[in-house]
């Protein structure tokens, strides 16, 4: 797995299997958190999608729907749960408190 110019150093992969991926985000000193936003570091929504695609070596063809329901902060440990749907996959992103952070329906290859 190679990381993109944006995600390089942004997270550590904790565990990975076919249906579940756990990552640990870097601290607020990472350039992404300094840029998004100054004084209020949050993981951008687009990277919540690109990180799981990167780890599973997928290319997203369509974002059927992506809902961002909770702010994702530096140093958080996050779990992606992936399940198949009729037309693609559903990816649920939760934090260590099991709070839903994102809910994504994607088509990828």
């Amino acid at each position: 797995m190679s990381q993109s110019y944006l995600s390089n150093g942004l997270y550590d992969l904790v565990s990975k299997d076919d249906n579940e991926v756990i990552i640990k985000l870097s601290d607020a000193d990472h350039p992404i958190f300094k840029a998004h936003f100054e004084g209020m570091p949050l993981l951008p929504g687009f990277l919540q999608i690109d990180i799981i695609a990167e780890i599973l070596e997928k290319e997203v063809e369509a974002i059927t729907s992506a809902k961002f329901v909770q702010k994702v902060l530096p140093k958080e440990q996050l779990m992606y749960r992936i399940s198949p749907t009729k037309s693609g996959v559903r990816v649920k992103l939760t934090n260590e408190s099991e709070e839903l952070c994102g809910d994504f329906k994607l088509k990828w290859h």
Binding site: Y5, I32, H36, F37, F46, I49, D50, E61, I63, F68
Partner: protein, 136 residues
């Protein structure tokens, strides 16, 4: 680019390396057009973020006034849907955004990404904008 439009870039809260809008071409009430650039071939999610950032340059004077939203309001992305229309290896695109609707401070905007005049991706973003005196 006119001096006025150049100045508007200062209001983009996303900074490098995630500030994708590099130029504002059109900044109208219900339509904006920008130039966005990436360091490598962008993903669909990156283009969707570029659509969201470009939407900041919609004026929406009456809609913001009615919703008690400041002219230069911060926004939180709530949802996205988008799709590739055509493959592209480019790193620079034009993005057109159009106001769709709003309910109070919840705004929906559509976007289309163009590679030299050809639409390569399109989608819709929804965001909640900050209201006067109310933190996001």
């Amino acid at each position: 680019m006119s001096t006025d439009l150049n100045t508007l870039l200062e209001f983009l809260p996303q900074k490098d390396p995630v500030g994708f809008v590099k130029e504002v071409l059109v900044c109208e009430e219900h339509e904006s057009r920008t130039v966005v650039r990436f360091e490598s071939k962008p993903t669909l999610a990156m283009l969707s973020e570029a659509g969201a950032q470009s939407s900041i340059f919609l004026r929406l004077t009456e809609e913001k006034k009615a919703a008690n939203v400041p002219t230069r309001a911060m926004g939180m992305l709530v949802s996205v849907k988008s799709k590739w229309l055509q493959e592209s290896d480019k790193k620079s695109f034009e993005v057109e955004t159009n106001y769709v609707s709003n309910l109070d401070s919840f705004f929906i905007v559509s976007f289309t990404v163009f590679d030299e005049g050809t639409a390569v991706a399109e989608g819709q973003v929804a965001a909640v904008l900050e209201q006067k005196g109310v933190a996001l």
